[in-house]
Symmetry: C2
Subunit: 348 residues, 2 copies
DNA sequence: GAGGTCATTGTGAGCGCTAACAATTCATGG
DNA sequence: CCATGAATTGTTAGCGCTCACAATGACCTC
């Protein structure tokens, strides 16, 4: 009966079948109030019958809105970025936006520029950049883009609106926890110099020690990987018995390497050396021993990030602060207290 | 000088400035060969000067192509899905496509349906579903969608084109490795029943034992989490001395839990019990002891998945097999051989 | 030097939708 | 019973681009 059509049905086709004008179909779909119930029902039936779907491109062209946001990220297989990405997408979808992602192997001026171009070609209305490295943020500030950009991470003083977990506070929690447990001083294995988060955590660690009147010991550096933690752990093991009793490691993966190095060197955790990590990756609870660490609320990061971006896109009433710091939380486990050496039946 | 414009410049604006027709601008942008060099240069200069960017929606409307693909995924903070997602996006971008992602907390008929609707509204030309659960694949088969779909994972016999790592082979490699090392039998801690990968790995394990004339021991089940591995590990520890000397665990995270439970029970790995995992997450190398495991090549999965989808979208010459199985690789570490107990200087 | 070919550029008609406005219908009150 | 205005529906223009085709002119060939 119905002629076989190669093209998907258009609004006009639906209108014809329902015996109305295409504009009425548009009104039904747009949930415009001034449509008679009987008409609306007829249109909906026609839509159903033809399996009609509004054409995205035509709609976007007419409204000048694509309702699509872009996200630029790197290291998306790491827990932190992956969690942030997930949270951003979920928050955007809740607002009715689609998210197009570009995942980079490394964030340089060039790859970032290409990523923004690619997203721009894709008609995004705004972009969230998960840019934990300072260099990336700098690049972002220099690059011209025809849409608003929000940064997750980044440094406090920068121009671009940003959202992030308060890394400084997290480091203070971790370091303070160790001092409160009676340790005279706390060593620190930091992340790569170029990373803002690494810098903030190191600064928080230093500030806490100085506030307690303690001279900060030598700072070690890793690259976030378990291997770099393992190597630093070997070095740290050499300082046991010479004032080293506690280490604050800038992320959980490196802490894993530290734990292993200490164990191999015959150093017991937490009896000889207490260890605190950062991130609370799902595995941390099952390290040997389970790791005390700092948990970040990525879900909130995602929501606030999207909210900040939509403020600019939709001209929503801007919140007072375009720089949002979210509070992290200390999770205490056996790596700092022997009493928690056994995992509970149903942990956390 | 230039009048301040609220709207971004259009092709017509550029054409006017360059003293050509809008069609010539389109030709320059489309890299059409028949444009005089001098004209092309003039147009490019005008584009540069005005900061012109082609309007995505108008282009998509005229060409009936959005060059956007959708990806539906779940558990995107896990290593496997995150890696797959990354690989898919990278492969799609290499082909000039944009990727819109929907990350679900759980894959049910309802959430999947909503996800496909959301992507459909966003004008995607095709979708890759990372659907490791059987139920999800079933739901996908029932759902109507106006675009081609490719599944990553899924069961071998299904209708929808699929790509995936050969889980059965991976399990055979793992189990065979243990048998070759002299173990009489191999126990198995499987993943959730609903997961196709879990079923395939269990089947591969069973097949290898049966081929060796060994009666497979009782099968244990976990939910991929370290905690479930820990619990299973406690149970496994009870069988040591009664024929249990080797365990093939269906993923690395559960293996982490198993290792811990064994250690706490005073069982040594690998001297008393050898353990093999699956996935080769970055941490595996730093477990105590470093874990022998099966590595999956996600990058290839992504490339083949996108290729399969584009075959259908662009009507490219279809490869002979719409069901692609990629070979996994065994990575031997200390959890099965004491000789490999120390990590190398610069492990791969 | 007429006719033909090719390279180059321009013209006009949509793509399928929404926005603005015009037209129609219907209820209401004087 | 007609004026008045609100509710409902239709009509007409674009949105900014690409495609098909037409037009122009340069360059050959015989």
């Amino acid at each position: 009966m119905t002629p076989t059509r190669l093209r998907p049905p258009t609004m006009a086709d639906v209108a014809r079948l329902a015996g109305v004008s295409h504009q009425t179909v548009s009104r039904v779909l747009g949930e415009h109030p001034n449509v008679r119930d009987e008409t609306r029902a007829r249109v909906l039936r026609a839509i159903e019958e033809m399996g009609y779907r509004r054409n995205f491109s035509a709609r976007a062209l007419a409204t000048r809105r694509t309702r699509t946001l872009g996200v630029v990220a790197s290291d998306t297989t790491l827990y932190g970025p992956a969690s942030t990405l997930f949270a951003l997408e979920e928050a955007a979808r809740a607002e009715g936006y689609l998210v197009s992602t570009v995942s980079l192997r490394e964030l340089t001026m060039e790859t970032l520029s290409e990523a923004l171009d690619h997203l721009s070609e894709g008609g995004v209305e705004g972009v969230v950049a998960i840019a934990p490295q300072r260099s990336a943020v700098d690049a972002l500030a220099e690059l011209r883009h025809p849409f608003p950009v929000v940064v997750v991470g980044g440094e406090p003083g920068m121009e671009i609106p940003r959202v992030g977990v308060d890394q400084h506070l997290g480091a203070r929690l971790a370091t303070g926890h160790l001092l409160a447990a009676g340790h005279r001083t706390v060593w620190h294995l930091a992340g790569p110099e170029d990373w803002q988060e690494a810098a903030d955590r190191a600064a928080g660690w230093r500030a806490t020690l100085e506030a307690a009147g303690v001279e900060p010991p030598m700072l070690l550096r890793g690259d976030w990987s378990p291997l770099s933690g393992y190597r630093a752990g070997q070095e740290l093991a050499g300082w046991v018995g010479r004032g080293l009793t506690a280490v604050f490691v800038a992320n959980d993966q490196m802490a894993l390497g530290v734990l292993r190095a200490l164990r191999e060197a015959g150093v017991r955790t937490p009896q000889d050396v207490a260890v605190v990590g950062f991130d609370d990756i799902p595995e941390s609870e099952f390290f040997a021993p389970p790791l005390t660490t700092v948990r970040q609320d990525f879900s909130t990061v995602g929501q606030r990030g999207i909210a900040l971006l939509l403020e600019q896109i939709e001209g929503r009433p801007a919140s007072d602060t375009p720089r949002i710091a979210i509070e992290p939380q200390l999770v205490v486990r056996a790596s700092t207290f022997p009493s928690a050496a056994q995992p509970e039946g149903a942990p956390r």
